[in-house]
């Protein structure tokens, strides 16, 4: 290359310093963007975790500390007085038992119904399939209050009231549209070729479903189980409507709320939190474990 051409080339290019400066700016921008993402994630986590921390903090403080101001970030001294007081209140243990029973039964019932239902919608073309899907979806458009009243009327007419079992039926009915759709979309994502392969290698259609499709659909079933459990655990309107002496925990607490002290409320909130967190903790294994394998 001639000297002239070299000079031209170096002119058309940015100088070494400018090049380096540009590189630094780009790097800084990249780091800023990354920091932004982390900041947002932390903000969201705090948004969700702070109320839980606050509740736990208050629940384990002495009643005097609950009323004190300013409040400390950690309970000091740690005290189980509020929790003990709450748990020893008349009917709380029973209501907790009812709640767990209702929520678990609703999970079992809705899974038992939604698994075959979701499978049918995912795999088979039958008359009215799209209509059924639409109707299910539209049921979710109504608030629970609107749905609960007619259902409650039917239960009352049938004489099925003031029993945890009835409430489980009610919660199953309320949650079924969502669980069927969630589970059917998971079944749809399991290739039919898997079932065919299982059948070629010796399975009946039912065995193929049991051994191959169901394990692969577990994440969806887990997700819908969480939905059902949380809905049932938190649901209070239908619970108040349908039960009187056999109240679930939220119904019982709500009923007593205006007559109770602040420490009682914080203890109640904490006790309400714990079982659903334990449930989600165990179910989440299925939620995350399997996906990596389905999506190759």
């Amino acid at each position: 290359m001639s000297a002239e051409a070299l000079a031209k080339e170096s002119l058309s290019r940015p100088s070494a310093q400018a090049w380096e400066a540009q590189r630094r700016r780009d790097k800084l921008l990249l780091q800023l963007r990354r920091a932004g993402v982390y900041a947002l994630a932390i903000l969201i986590a705090v948004w969700i975790l702070f109320p839980i921390l606050l509740i736990a903090n208050m629940a384990f403080s002495t009643p005097q500390d609950v009323r004190a101001f300013p409040k400390s970030f950690f309970p000091n001294p740690i005290s189980l007085d509020s929790i003990n007081f709450f748990l020893s209140t008349e009917g709380i243990i029973r209501a907790t038992g009812n709640s767990i029973f209702v929520a678990l039964l609703a999970v079992v019932l809705s899974s038992l119904l939604a698994v075959p239902g979701g499978y049918a919608i995912a795999r088979y073309v039958f008359p009215g399939r799209d209509a059924i899907r639409l109707v299910m979806l539209s049921v979710r458009a109504f608030p629970i209050v609107v749905l609960a009243v007619p259902l409650a009327v039917i239960f009352l007419q049938l004489g099925l009231f003031d029993q945890p079992f009835t409430l489980a039926l009610m919660h199953t009915a309320l949650t079924l549209p969502t669980t069927v759709l969630v589970i059917s979309s998971v079944f749809a994502s399991v290739p039919y070729e898997f079932e065919e392969a299982a059948q070629v290698f010796g399975c009946t259609p039912l065995q193929a479903f049991w051994q191959v499709v169901l394990p692969l659909a577990l994440p969806g079933i887990a997700a819908s189980a969480i939905l059902t459990f949380v809905l049932s655990w938190n649901e209070v309107f239908a619970a108040i409507l349908l039960t009187l002496s056999n109240r679930t925990l939220p119904a019982h607490i709500l009923y007593n709320l205006d007559k109770s002290s602040d420490p009682f409320k914080f203890a109640a909130a904490f006790v309400m939190l714990v079982p659903s967190m334990i449930f989600i903790f165990f179910i989440r294994r299925y939620l995350f474990n399997m996906w990596g394998q389905i999506n190759k």
């Binding site: 290739p191 070729e193 392969a197 059948q199 070629v200 010796g202 399975c203 009946t204 190759k296």
Partner: protein, 370 residues
């Protein structure tokens, strides 16, 4: 007994006829390839044999059992699926062992057979991994290992290599052929890749629109295609088709390609007589022509438009009237675009085809008509 006989099979999807009255016998230990473009019914036919889709009419007999209405698990077959259908929630060992476990074989027997199958496919070191941690080629091997582990006398394969990259496909092709021949199983292999069909099959069934057009040994399908479709579908480049006219020339008939007259074999004279004065199509493979740089009286003069060096050969393109012709020549043959070339057509390499139906015209056609 692992002979498969299909008789008058018909399968429709709504109004679409996927299999149109197909009859086929696959011999014991044979490697039969079902070859055709997509939508020709080859996969539907394979699925009917597997029991994954019931026929509307006709029958499937495996060995001495009519399995037409039996579910897949009772047919004594094994299968490799196009997308492998490896179970993602099972380790490689359990995938390969799946069929044996369903047969409730004893544990140590299962372990032995899985190990054998895995060794044959060189995946014995990966048995306790999950398929998601493996590459496409390795998953392919799991699928084949699972299929051979059950030691079924019949293995059905539905485009098993179509998801692999070109190099891996080449490698697996030879390996599969060797493996299946050694095992002595009857194989039905579906593919749309004519090179795969040519290289692997003992026989090829070329399918189109639900029918088997030609069922023969690969070289015969290649050299003697039954019609224009088969000639055009098989071979890279496809067979050349030139439009000519049958003319009476002294005592016999010749085929005129413009000024040039092609002299057919003697045994074709009577049947060509039936086409006297009519248009006809001649088919010739790119590598069958003998090129010459100097004028010959019995050769077709062409001007070369394009020269494509392909390494092992050079591919020439020229126009003859409205037809394009591809000629494959040795790379050392000196020719550049614009050159004139004279092409000789060896008498036994030329196929004559009816211009209307595309069917080959042979001495046998005359016997059938006479």
């Amino acid at each position: 007994m692992a002979e498969i006989t299909i008789t008058n099979a018909v399968k429709k999807f709504g109004k679409f006829v996927a299999i149109d009255n197909v009859s086929l016998t696959v011999h014991e230990r044979e490697f039969l390839v079902l070859l055709g473009p997509s939508g020709c019914g080859k996969t539907t036919l394979l699925r009917a044999i597997a029991g994954l889709g019931m026929l509307d009419s006709g029958s499937v007999v495996i060995g001495d059992r009519d399995v037409t209405y039996l579910p897949p698990r009772e047919r004594g077959i094994s299968m490799v699926f196009q997308n492998y259908a490896i179970f993602p929630h099972m380790k490689v060992f359990d995938n390969i062992a799946f069929g044996l476990k369903m047969q409730k074989k004893p544990k140590n027997e299962i372990a032995d057979k899985v190990m054998n199958a895995a060794k044959l496919l060189h995946i014995e070191g990966m048995l306790d991994r999950f398929p998601s941690q493996m590459s496409g080629g390795q998953r392919q091997r799991i699928a084949v290992a699972r299929a051979i582990a059950v030691e079924s006398p019949i293995i059905l394969m539905d485009e098993p290599l179509s998801n692999l990259d070109a190099l891996l496909r080449l490698e697996m092709r030879a390996e599969l052929k060797l493996l299946l021949t050694r095992l002595g199983v009857t194989t039905i292999y579906v593919t749309h890749d004519q090179i795969e069909a040519m290289s692997m099959g003992d026989r090829i069934a070329v399918m189109r629109a639900g029918k088997i057009l030609q069922l023969d040994h690969p070289t015969r399908v290649y050299d003697l295609p039954i019609d224009q479709f088969v000639g055009g579908f098989i071979g890279t480049p496809p067979m050349n088709f030139l439009h000519g006219q049958v003319q009476r020339n002294g005592a016999g008939y010749t085929v005129a390609l413009g000024e040039f007259h092609l002299q057919p074999a003697d045994d074709l004279q009577p049947v060509l007589g039936r086409h006297d004065g009519k248009p006809i199509v001649i088919g010739i493979r790119a590598e069958s022509m003998e090129p010459s740089k100097s004028p010959l009286s019995d050769a077709l003069p062409v001007t070369i438009d394009v020269v494509e060096p392909l390494g092992s050969q050079n591919l020439l393109t020229a126009c003859i009237g409205k037809d394009t012709i591809k000629v494959s020549i040795h790379p050392d043959f000196p020719v550049t675009a614009g050159d004139n070339l004279w092409l000789r057509f060896p008498i036994n390499k030329v196929r004559y085809m009816d211009a209307d139906t595309g069917r080959s015209i042979t001495a046998d056609t005359e016997k059938a008509l006479a």
